[in-house]
């Protein structure tokens, strides 16, 4: 056993770098805010530097920037249709922010901002408010028909309307829990697996050999899986957002 206790959950601890309190709210600059800022800066750098040359034949950076553009643009076109074009900046920002936060979190000693429900729920809330606002602007009060599906007997309405409302309200909750849970679970798994190497390494020569032979390849595979999950979760968040936008614009 290691003398110093090191929990796999330590990586999610919020550390304040700059204490700040405004009107009773704790607005400290923390490691979470630092990594969020960092991911915003990296996305900006990635897109502006990538597109700075604007050559007809794209180089490596430019084609990466173009691929990410195409990816979200085609997702919107497929799932929302032509009206979805207006929401491209919104969806692209959310997708790139989550993607870069997830991937930044995989770098050792870094912090995963998206592993905290406070962050993901704020993102999901932005999506939710956007969806409700678009629905009401587009359809007026007719958007309320969203909760009352047509073609069912009237006596079912008292049962179906609360169900529909709850299923609507559950969207941002499931959206945020999924992202935070996937990131948290993956990072705990990585830490626990890395802990096995240290533990086996301190158990003599055979332990060291076993430590290199068994958990290390697993760890390599897990990092690959986590990279995939980091992308997949950003993708799921973006595609669900586009589904919800579709619902708000076309009403089912």
């Amino acid at each position: 056993m290691a003398t110093e206790k090191h929990s796999p959950l330590d990586q999610f601890k919020i550390q304040s770098y700059l204490d700040l309190e405004v009107a009773g709210y704790d607005l400290s600059f923390t490691n979470s805010s630092l990594f969020m800022l960092l991911s915003v800066a990296l996305v900006t750098l990635f897109m502006t530097v990538g597109m700075s040359k604007r050559s007809m034949i794209p180089g490596r950076w430019q084609s990466m920037a173009e691929i990410s553009y195409e990816f979200i643009a085609s997702m919107l076109k497929e799932n929302v249709g032509n009206e979805g074009r207006k929401f491209f900046p919104f969806l692209f920002t959310i997708f790139m922010f989550i993607l870069f936060s997830n991937i930044l979190g995989l770098i050792p000693f870094s912090f995963t901002a998206t592993s905290h429900i406070a962050v993901t729920f704020a993102l999901a809330l932005v999506v939710f408010i956007m969806m409700v606002a678009v629905g009401f602007i587009k359809h007026g009060l007719g958007f309320l028909k969203f909760f009352a599906p047509s073609g069912i007997p009237a006596w079912l309405y008292p049962l179906l309307i609360p169900t529909e409302i709850i299923s609507f309200l559950a969207r941002p909750v499931s959206l945020s829990i999924r992202l935070a849970a996937a990131m948290t679970a993956g990072h705990i798994l990585l830490k626990v697996c890395a802990g096995f190497i240290i533990m086996l390494g301190s158990a003599g020569i055979f332990g060291a050999i076993a430590g290199v032979a068994i958990p290390l390849p697993i760890l390599v595979a897990l990092i690959g899986l986590e990279l995939f999950v980091a992308f997949l979760q950003a993708y799921i968040f973006a595609i669900l957002t586009s589904f919800y936008l579709h619902d708000a614009i076309h009403m089912h």
Partner: protein, 100 residues
Amino acid sequence: MSDEKLNSLAERISRLKNSRNTRRGEANEDDTSERARGMSMGTRLGVELFAGIGVGTFIGYMIDSFFETLPLFLIIFLFFGAAGGFLNAYRAFMKDSDNN
């Protein structure tokens, strides 16, 4: 004449597509990504159920603490929440199977 040509072309395209599909099926890489996608679908449905029940219970509890009728609306909205969760999970699943 041109119809015949078109037909033979269609046949060739479908043959090529089939052969590509079988080749893709044999590859191991696709198998693991398929499994990862299945796993993510599974967690998605689980989270969807959980979120529905959580939101329903929360609303029920809020109504109860407002009217001071504690267990009544909590129990009612627990069931509504479960129904909403199932509805979301069902829709998510149907949408996914539509896409494939």
